[in-house]
Subunit: 213 residues, 2 copies
DNA sequence: CGGATGGTTGATAGTCATCAAGATGGGTGG
DNA sequence: CCACCCATCTTGATGACTATCAACCATCCG
């Protein structure tokens, strides 16, 4: 077990734009975010970047690579970050011994499916304002889970990344931030965001206002 | 093992619109489609249906419920169908014994994540024509995997379902079917579809034309 | 200081949703 | 067997939302 611990707990530091893995690379490990933030994206034939996920501390990157044993996306740090590499063969081996770990893995995978499906709904049927609102509420919840402020937090990603992720133009994202600010729902200062009227934001986002945490 | 087999292999018949499980129901089993087709959807606060997936024979329904132990979606038959109920506790128990089954489950879950992410890209960044094109190519591939014709197949779902799933209006779906038909890329007759020009369809869909099977 | 990167704001146009109406088709009952 | 009816699908006209193009502003960093 000592070797396993040593193997798993080694923390890697990455600077901004540092890459964990690239599209097409062989899958060997999962990566748990310790600090900072990451994005995963794929590149289409015209060279455009398509962001499929953002990852905050405590979250696991690479679950989409288990099937093909090859990473379908590229993962890059949005800022100075650290992470833990978790060799997957060890997960598989330990899972057979520690029943709890297996159940935990199933839940993690299932959760990602559910969250991706929620994003599908977002992208397919919601207006720009609803997308931004939902996005902010989502981030707020994830901060809360990390015992951070759910009302005042920092967006680790650029506006272009948000736009890309939500299927919008940068200009639209910018405009809606200003609009929500003028309605006193948000206070935005660069990457710093404060949710002033959580209830109203839920209404704008057309989300249940329940604390989903 | 005999009891297990008996438990797992029992095939359930469902008629059109028959429901496997409803949103919020306790998760107990996964369901493998034997024949027919299914859709899974959630209902938003205004009562609108949001389709998140279609399932063909050989595919597994319910993976998104493992995490919360409660189904986030409702699953209904699109036509007369049969399926196998697979109690999940048995999957978990057997997984610890049969290493291969565990690996298989991980792959299935991972694959669903990857496919959902592909759909995200579709919904976020593609035009109506690209969405329909990609959708048809996807169905074509799934038919092929089932050793059926990849060029001539039947859409088990209604136009409204396709529109809902792709984040479009029914009218748009209809119009694009007609357009693709007039360009001799498709031959559409109700739910029957024939892909006349696979290459051109790939171009329209902005997809790599490789056979992803 | 000056260039570069990222963000905001304004004007215009395109894609697709919406509204409205007509066509098709499958199922049922006379 | 045919007629009718309801659901589904198609087609057309209009408008809304948001992308795009263009310019300007802010911030950072060498």
């Amino acid at each position: 077990m000592d070797t396993v611990d040593a193997e798993i707990k080694r923390a890697k530091p990455l600077k901004k734009n540092g890459q964990i893995f690239g599209t097409g690379e062989t899958f060997k490990s999962l990566y748990a975010v310790r600090s900072g933030a990451f994005k995963t994206y794929s590149i289409d034939e015209s060279g455009e970047e398509h962001i499929v996920g953002f990852f905050l501390p405590g979250e696991l990157i690479g679950l989409d690579a288990i099937d093909t044993q090859s990473h379908p996306t590229t993962a890059k740090a949005l800022e100075e970050s650290t992470l833990c590499e978790i060799p997957f063969d060890q997960v598989e081996r330990l899972s057979t011994k520690i029943h709890n770990l297996q159940a935990h893995m199933y839940r993690l995978l299932s959760r990602e499916i559910r969250e991706d499906q929620e994003l599908q709904m977002l992208l397919g049927k919601k207006t720009a304002e609803e997308r931004i609102g939902t996005f902010l509420l989502n981030l707020s919840n994830r901060c809360k889970q990390r015992k951070l402020s759910a009302t005042l937090f920092r967006l680790p990603m650029a506006r272009t990344d948000i736009a890309n992720y939500l299927g919008l133009a940068v200009e639209t994202v910018s405009r809606i931030f200003t609009r929500l600010q003028s309605q006193n729902i948000l206070a935005v200062d660069g990457k710093e965001v404060e949710i002033l009227d959580h209830h109203q934001l839920c209404i704008v986002a057309h989300n249940d206002c329940v604390n989903e945490g």
